[in-house]
């Protein structure tokens, strides 16, 4: 059986055990303004960022930015209205193929790279953050952490079937290194930051 053969070969060939590094503590700029850094990084990779005072400001902006988009779904109960219907679960992920705008609330926002950590329970279905033409993220600035180490400290041993860091709209530069936004996933990302 290949499993046992592979493991036996490794036991034979792997070198003497060396320890893991004892610490993952790295220098950090204690004075870094996390919200500013996050916003600069997000805009640098093509996201649109709004700072808002409250949820009631968000709906009108969405209406202005996406005037002709037909199917909008919100996985965030606080952001459901006549214009923005709540996400309704369908077991067949293909049925979300015509979603134009989808709204989510991630769990962690990483300042160093503007990555947003979102878990399966906040996606509606796993396919939704990818299949939607445009993605909107609602980010409480209390979710900000400086870097990926801090993000994983916060995630700890949390148990999710699927989770992902998303940083900006989907993109490619495979053709002569020309950056094109909107490869297979969303064509744009809009972030609303609030406190």
């Amino acid at each position: 059986m290949s499993r046992d053969k592979i493991l036996a070969a490794l036991r034979q060939n792997q070198p003497e055990k060396v320890p893991l590094p004892t610490t993952l503590a790295f220098e950090r700029d204690a004075n870094l303004n996390l919200a500013e850094k996050f916003k600069a990084m997000a805009e640098g990779i093509g996201s649109k960022v709004y700072m808002v005072a409250g949820f009631d400001e968000i709906g009108p902006v969405i209406g202005m930015d996406f005037p002709s988009e037909k199917r909008i779904v919100s996985t965030v109960p606080e952001l459901v209205s006549a214009a923005i219907p709540a996400f309704v679960l369908d077991a067949d992920p293909q049925t979300y193929e015509d979603v134009d705008v989808a709204i989510f609330k991630p769990r962690i926002a990483v300042a160093e790279n503007s990555a947003l950590w979102i878990t399966e329970d906040r996606m509606g279905v796993r396919a939704l953050p990818f299949i939607t033409q445009h993605i909107i993220m609602l980010v409480d600035i209390a979710l900000l952490v400086p870097d990926m180490h801090a993000a994983y400290e916060k995630i700890g041993a949390a148990d999710y079937g699927f989770s992902t860091f998303i940083a900006g709209p989907s993109k490619t530069a495979d053709i002569e290194q020309s950056l094109v936004l909107g490869a297979h996933g969303p064509r744009s990302m809009t972030i609303f930051m609030y406190s």
């Binding site: 070969a9 060396v18 992920p93 193929e97 992902t164 998303i166 940083a167 490619t172 297979h184």
Partner: protein, 458 residues
């Protein structure tokens, strides 16, 4: 693959015929290297990160068997089916078996260098199955019936006009289209249809976590996620060396990977797959294919630390000027040149010589693999085992003779200078391999030895 029997010098010669293209290729990759530098220098703790990543990978190699057992145990508990493949053929048979069992004829695939190494597409096509690559660059080379020329940038060797021609033939864009925006949009529409209709998706694995049994797949395009979340069957193929011990170690590797690869702070998507969604099957195929043998080669085992960022290719003066296809191996560039001889020393005997040993590859490697040292060591192994080509052997013998006798050395130097000065055509001709794509240097009037004797010893 075409040219599998041709060597790096022969294949480079073909690439070098188009001088303008070589310059363009060289400059494009150097530009990516510069983006990497800018990104790395913006992180004060960069060197500490590299050292930590290297130490974590050293630990992984020293205890890989236990980590794999732990990973398997956790993955099984998470509801993932785990398969083990001793070699490429077994890997391909396992994937085919899963598809057959589910009555699936068509599969969508995101980037996986391991499946390139195993020649999975060719195998499945021979069995009458249809595989579509969904990474834009991979789709382009698939349409061109070529292998990828770079592990991160599969079609970096292609001009947008050539891609336009391919899309004209296969995807129906008007002739003469070359705008990257339009070409990308065309591929988006074409592949969206594919994602929606394929019941099986295969992805690679960037990191597999022994502690949790989850695996992480990184893409910018979102193609791995589009495939996996829409398919009934998700197959993930991984080499045994993809293991990292703990989830928190991802912080180190995700910070290094994309900054090293393209200069981005992180990929758009870093997806953590832990359990299949309800009703979905999730399979992992863990592949050896020569890796356990490499583990036993003390001088070369730490090539298994590689996280496939491609930084060594972008910086390599030989890769930039010879192109990825000149390495006639799924993984090209400096890292490919130290991995390939392990698989087939005879077939890839030329690759460790495709280097200037300048050491730039080792300097940019995020996990501190001593790539240029290994290139140098492979040369010795290959010569000792008798796989070096005969001109190289004769050349080396001549050099040994010349360099071991001061009299012969001085005479040879004098003769060389005389030839370059008085009869340059004697060396500036096609029989001298150094003259290809290069001008010979102007001969100095005297050697350093002669100058030193005249000026200092007096």
């Amino acid at each position: 693959m075409d040219g599998a029997t041709q060597t790096h010098p022969e294949l480079s010669e073909i690439f070098n015929k188009d001088e303008e293209r070589v310059d363009w290729h060289d400059e494009t990759l150097w530009w990516i290297r510069q983006k990497r530098d800018k990104s790395a220098h913006s992180i004060p703790e960069w060197e500490q990160l590299r050292e930590t990543a290297s130490q974590i990978k050293n630990n992984v190699l020293s205890d890989l068997s236990s980590y794999l057992v732990s990973f398997e145990e956790k993955a099984l508990a998470n509801g993932i089916v785990v398969h083990w493949a001793a070699d490429a053929a077994e890997h391909n048979r396992i994937v085919h078996g899963i598809l057959k069992e589910n009555g699936i004829q068509q599969m969508v695939k995101s980037k996986s260098m391991l499946t390139e190494e195993c020649h999975l597409n060719e195998y499945l096509e021979q069995q009458g199955l249809d595989v579509i690559d969904s990474d834009l660059g991979e789709r382009i080379v698939q349409l061109a019936k070529e292998p990828p020329s770079h592990i991160v940038l599969p079609c970096i060797h292609k001009k947008k006009e050539e891609i336009g021609d391919l899309f004209h033939i296969h995807l129906g864009v008007p002739a003469g289209t070359s705008d990257p925006q339009i070409l990308t949009e065309t591929a988006r529409q074409h592949l969206r249809e594919t994602f929606l209709t394929r019941r099986a998706a295969l992805t690679g694995v960037n990191f597999a976590i022994a502690e949790t049994g989850e695996f992480v797949v990184c893409t910018n395009e979102g193609n791995a996620d589009m495939g996996a979340h829409l398919a009934d069957v998700h197959i993930a193929s991984m080499g045994i060396e993809k293991i990292i011990p703990e989830r928190r170690h991802l912080g180190v590797f995700l910070r290094l990977l994309t900054r090293s690869a393209t200069g981005q702070p992180i990929t758009t998507y870093s997806s953590h797959f832990k359990k299949p969604r309800p009703g979905q099957q999730m399979h992992i195929v863990i592949v050896d294919n020569g890796r356990t043998i490499q583990m036993g080669r003390e001088d070369f085992r730490n090539s298994l630390k590689c996280i496939r960022c491609g930084a060594c290719m972008n910086t390599c003066p030989v890769y930039r000027r010879s192109g990825g296809h000149s390495y006639h191996n799924a993984i090209s560039g400096p890292i490919g040149a130290i991995l390939a001889p392990n698989l087939d020393m005879k077939k890839y005997a030329d690759l460790p010589f495709a280097s200037t040993l300048c050491g730039s590859c080792s300097n940019v490697c995020p996990v501190k693999i001593d790539i240029h040292q290994q290139l140098y060591k492979w040369r010795q192994v290959i010569v000792k085992e008798g796989y070096a080509d005969s001109t190289k052997k004769i050349g080396m013998q001549l050099m040994t003779f010349t360099l071991s006798s001061p009299v012969v050395y001085r005479t040879a130097g004098k003769a060389g200078r005389w030839f370059l000065k008085h009869v340059p055509f004697a060396v500036n001709n096609k029989f001298n391999p150094w003259y290809k794509q290069r001008d010979m240097p102007e001969a100095p009037a005297e050697s350093f030895g002669e100058w030193y004797k005249k000026n200092v010893k007096k």
